[in-house]
Symmetry: C2
Subunit: 377 residues, 2 copies
């Protein structure tokens, strides 16, 4: 029988694929008293969050807001609104999250064309172009900018360019990229983008910032069929998030009020640092990690030019037991790193240096811990 | 230009249709350090949450867990999993949330039969029975136990009985009922139930506890088509929430870790009080409010036998301006109450006495504030 006691979590250093360590300021904001989701103070906060998100996405898109669910909910928001039955969609797959996009297209009854790239490599824009020549009716190209399962950065700008040349829109997974590497929604012309709060924004998990260019909004407005999801239907969600006049804002669902306090604070922290400075910091700490790993003789899965600074996939040294090593990291050092997924299970570790957790202290502590565990074998 | 400052919400007394006031203990739990969603300490917490939720739902259903989204996400989880294209579904509508159920059925491409009951009245089980005679192929009866838009309690036990007699399953909206009025999932034989955390559980908004009896699980397992939503597909979600062995638990989405700390604490608080004691407390404070309102000459919308103690719909006195009155309650007394929806807009107020907010102090303060505002007119 469960008797019931308050839960006091262990204090970890979160260096896995997410969630990342949440800043104390964000946790403090999270715990402030709950107000109603139509309270004037709260609807004013919603407007501020939209402004801060636009700055973070580098966009002036009006339709920019956090979906009330984790990254997968943001993903589904993009697909159910943009993909109509029988729409042809080119899905670029180079890891777990590309596969998930394919699942979404199929469940929206779209016609999926698949460009498969070996896990650990970036999507090749030229191959995208060839696929689009083969399937000229393609309406949407879907790809992951930062593959969390492999640590690969694909060139969103170049892929978008070839998609647009072929008259297709793009849906971009930026769950792990937002705040950690360059992402220029307007300059690159990205049509629909979704992200997550628990990676380089260092906010709690559970929200998914999204942004839609007018190109995407137009496609949604021209739909012949209703969006198959009520919860994710942007036509309805917009009535709550889009109206800045509090009086005309209409209820859709109860917003996750406290989580939005936290997101606001995390976005403020990022703004104070400066977005470009944050990208730079992620890069620097990645290089620090790389130098240390080289000394330990540990190699990267991904070629240097496609490595994500915030998600380092590294080869597990021979004769090291994956599960036991990570278990010891957790129990002896309170450090979480991630294992591999799918075909990469037991072959790689995924070391996240995301947001608040991307700092010298964490890198040096991790290197110390890894060295200790590897040398006592 | 938005310069950016931390957000300090006003301290309200939340007596609207939800969210309700969150207990300080719950806010404190919410702000504890984030751990990974596969951390052994966290997966142990998940098991505890499931046990506590089963106690709160009065069920032994294995498939009992909180959906990572607000009540509407729990609603959609029930419908997309249980309703297959061309399934006939009887939807009972006596308010906003019944209408939303209809939207869900249509978007799942089910065939909806509608039993409309005037807003403010309970669903009549006899009428349900008649509809089921008229549509004998009906597979599911969907209804709202506690209509948040009107403050009406319908008899879930009786409706379920006639549904089962006709060989149909039930989907029950218990968003506002869970923790506030009697809800006996196993004893009444409810097949699928969804709720919310921000009502009588007095937790933060953003999670939706659900429970599925084996009857519902069987229907899901026999589906001919894939669930149209990836995010809400219980076959996938179960792989994360159902496995108690940490090793075999597979990643679906990043769980809203901190919100789950809060839910655990709220459920503990409820357990400490005792579920039946909580129902009783909601009843008592409702009666205290009723006595006070009678002195002010304010009447209820709903007949006494169908009134929800936790959601009191009361008639706005003649010559009182709805918006101005609620505005003054908010600015002068920091009290939030709700307005009417749809045809009841500007006709009723909705006074929530939910969870932690259902106490004598709040009732007497609200009555004092209402009296002050009404007498100075």
């Amino acid at each position: 029988m469960y008797r019931g006691e308050s839960f006091f979590p262990p204090v970890r250093t979160l260096l896995g694929p997410g969630p990342s360590d949440v800043a104390p300021r964000t946790l403090e904001a999270l715990a402030r008293p709950t107000v109603g989701h139509l309270d004037p103070s709260f609807t004013a906060l919603m407007e501020q969050i939209k402004i801060l998100l636009r700055e973070t996405f580098k966009t002036s898109n009006n339709l920019t807001f956090p979906v009330s669910g984790p990254g997968s909910a943001g993903m589904e928001t993009c697909f159910v609104n943009l993909v109509e039955p029988d729409d042809e969609v080119l899905v670029c797959i180079n890891g777990v999250f590309g596969k998930r996009m394919l699942e979404n297209v199929e469940r929206c009854r779209g016609i999926a064309h698949v460009l498969e790239t070996p896990w650990g490599q970036a999507i090749d824009p030229q191959q995208v172009q060839e696929m689009l020549k083969k399937y000229p009716k393609t309406k949407i190209v879907a790809f992951v900018q930062a593959e969390t399962s492999t640590g690969v950065l694909s060139q969103a700008k170049d892929i978008t360019q070839v998609a647009h040349q072929a008259g297709a829109l793009v849906i971009v997974d930026a769950v792990t990229s937002l705040g950690g590497v360059e992402l220029l929604v307007d300059e690159w012309g990205l049509d629909a983008v979704y992200s997550g709060t628990q990676k380089c924004l260092s906010c709690i998990p559970g929200l998914s910032p999204v942004t839609f260019a007018s190109s995407a909004v137009q496609k949604i407005k021209k739909r012949k069929s209703k969006v198959q999801s009520w919860f994710f239907d942007l036509n309805l969600v917009m009535d709550y998030w889009e109206k800045s006049d509090q009086g005309s804002r209409s209820y859709h669902h109860t917003a996750p009020v406290n989580s939005l306090y936290a997101l606001h604070e995390s976005l403020l922290i990022l703004k104070e640092e400066g977005l470009e400075n944050s990208w730079q910091r992620h890069r620097q700490n990645h290089l620090l990690l790389k130098t240390g790993l080289e000394k330990l003789g540990i190699e990267f899965l991904v070629a240097a030019q496609s490595r994500l600074p915030q998600l380092n996939s590294i080869m597990i040294p021979q004769n090291v037991d994956d599960a036991q090593f990570r278990q010891e990291l957790l129990t002896k050092f309170n450090i979480e790193i991630g294992g591999g997924l799918g075909a990469l299970a037991k072959k790689i570790w995924r070391v996240g240096l995301m947001g608040h957790a991307s700092n010298e202290k964490n890198v040096t502590y991790l290197l110390h811990a890894m060295q200790s565990l590897l040398s006592c074998r």
